[in-house]
Symmetry: C2
Subunit: 405 residues, 2 copies
Amino acid sequence: MINIAVLGYGTIGTGVVEVLNTNGESIAKRAGDQINIKYVLDLREFPGDPIMEKLVHDVNIILDDPEVKIICEVMGGVEPAHTFVKAALLKGKSVITSNKELVAKHGAELLNIAKERNLNFLFEASVGGGIPIIRPLNQSLTADEIVEITGILNGTTNYILSKMSEEGIGFEAALADAQKLGYAERNPAADVEGHDACRKIAILSSLAFGMQVDYEDIYTEGITKISDIDIRYAKTLDAKIKLFATSIRENDRVYAMVAPVMIKSSHPLYSVNDVFNGIFVRGNVIGDVMFYGSGAGKLPTASAVVADIVDAAKHLGINIWTIWSSKKLELTDVNQVQHRFFIRVKGNTPQVVENVGKLFGDVEVVAAKGVAGEYAFITQSLSEQDLKEKANNLDGVLSIIRARF
Amino acid sequence: MINIAVLGYGTIGTGVVEVLNTNGESIAKRAGDQINIKYVLDLREFPGDPIMEKLVHDVNIILDDPEVKIICEVMGGVEPAHTFVKAALLKGKSVITSNKELVAKHGAELLNIAKERNLNFLFEASVGGGIPIIRPLNQSLTADEIVEITGILNGTTNYILSKMSEEGIGFEAALADAQKLGYAERNPAADVEGHDACRKIAILSSLAFGMQVDYEDIYTEGITKISDIDIRYAKTLDAKIKLFATSIRENDRVYAMVAPVMIKSSHPLYSVNDVFNGIFVRGNVIGDVMFYGSGAGKLPTASAVVADIVDAAKHLGINIWTIWSSKKLELTDVNQVQHRFFIRVKGNTPQVVENVGKLFGDVEVVAAKGVAGEYAFITQSLSEQDLKEKANNLDGVLSIIRARF
């Protein structure tokens, strides 16, 4: 029997308990031993819940119990999670976490402590919910140099954009719908401003390139400015607008960015809709692979946490090697990155058209049904810096969206 | 330095050498040691190829060299691969293979030998080419009971069906095109009759359910009877025809089948086109996940082989646990399985319509542009056995295709 403790009895914590109860027998077979939840840590009480027998309010009871071999941290947030996790590792316990803030900020440090002590620090659930992506990156794509990782990593924004596209409604209406369904929080900033996706791509980039990618360094733009008119244009282009979190290696330099992009149906992430997540990886020998599934939700996320518990149980005393040095990866200045851009400007007079021609040269003009009094076009590929300068000289810019085609 | 040997210098063998040369440095970092190809076994000579220095014609040179720790079997076919691989394991060498025939037939036996000796027998490349699926099934989806695995597992047939759909051409023309491009062999039976996909779903099913699924037990139907007219009907339904290899657990019984099916755009495998493969997995807690990528090809397949080499190198003396007992899993009789069926019959006279109504009750009638003199419909869900009996009483049946909607 392997004793574990669960830190945090919120959505994911209850999911972990449920998964271990539901599939306990087959999990024991795969882990080579029964997994027993000895403690659950939470400040709250849960009267009537059988978990009360195992509930403790003081983390030291768990940390000081040598019988506890594995700890699942599913509280979220950097503190006190970081203090608890670090203390657990220093006490010789392996740690599983679903906490993207913790992993993005302290992943390198915690992996290093785990490695020095022949323990494991595993975090499959921190990115992409149930989708296996951390383990495949670490253990399956090891023959490749990763050239690109691009993910739809936030289910809330993907739901909002899908809804806007399907129903022709605006951002605010789609957000309200997502909040009603529990897909978006009352304060939706972390999702809609792209911060959640940013932390996740920071983790994936650190793993793909083996060095610390600080999320503060990643250019991040949310979806709040995307309008129903933008989406109408996308439709005439047989395109969709998706919030991409992307990290690309070009000439031994890496750039990373979170921003809405237009993609066409030939892109593997085009059909990742609603709350689903998808992660596209390009390697220099494997070519393109894509992983798809539920990026959030109690049970899918708990499934990933429990799979990590199984892995930790199979590897008691054996460190599963993960390359993520604390050395900082200096990202390319995003101003140097080249894209095509979809741009809408007020007015469609000959003067506007002439001005666009002067600034951008040959462009692809786009018309959308029922939209009048404006002019929309797609530029040739140019750098973000160039775009900014040209757009500053253009009157009445209504929107600018990067185009991946 | 870890010495390895490559058995077979064909397409995949040359790919393995190329990947190790191209990405040697980062591979060494991930494996924890330099990987050195000490021998390549092939009956042929390769004048002018630097591989000649390492070429041997006698497998015993490799088997008897205690310096060789890992063997990659990339010859294909059951024999002599099985004899060589078994001998290698018995001599204390871990084995990597891309050989689906070998794994489908002898996987349980070889895994068992490897386990008893603290060695590894790894076969990521045997299914889905470069797509990570074996390792995710073994190590990532361990918290779940697998309910379904459905794959587009054969790139050749997927290319043919995509081509037929895109260009409106018939099976023979699309096959000729695939042969011209090197996607189909001169004798295409193994692909177009579904045998290749059958072996692959046998492997995935054995891993998902932990017991031996014999490929001879799996009902297998190829794509040779699919016509351009069938595809025209599919289009009017917003559907595509795909060769599905599927394995489904219902009420603790498993059925498995390889057959063309119609799917609509809401199915996650709908956008898996051309030579790409996709594998859809449904677990009882994780929900739906999907893996997508190049299902064949020299470098993607070699990428999977080399990733297994890295894993074996990291696990010298430590068996990576895989649950695949040699106990046979008795599959449900496919006649009991229920589907909807798309059926075309000659004639569209009131008599035909009446007869269809008498046999099948309420059906969904389908018309296709430019197709006349026949009647097409989709049945309610009924068992394969029922379908056969009813179809036997129906005159002029032109085609029957399972519908997954």
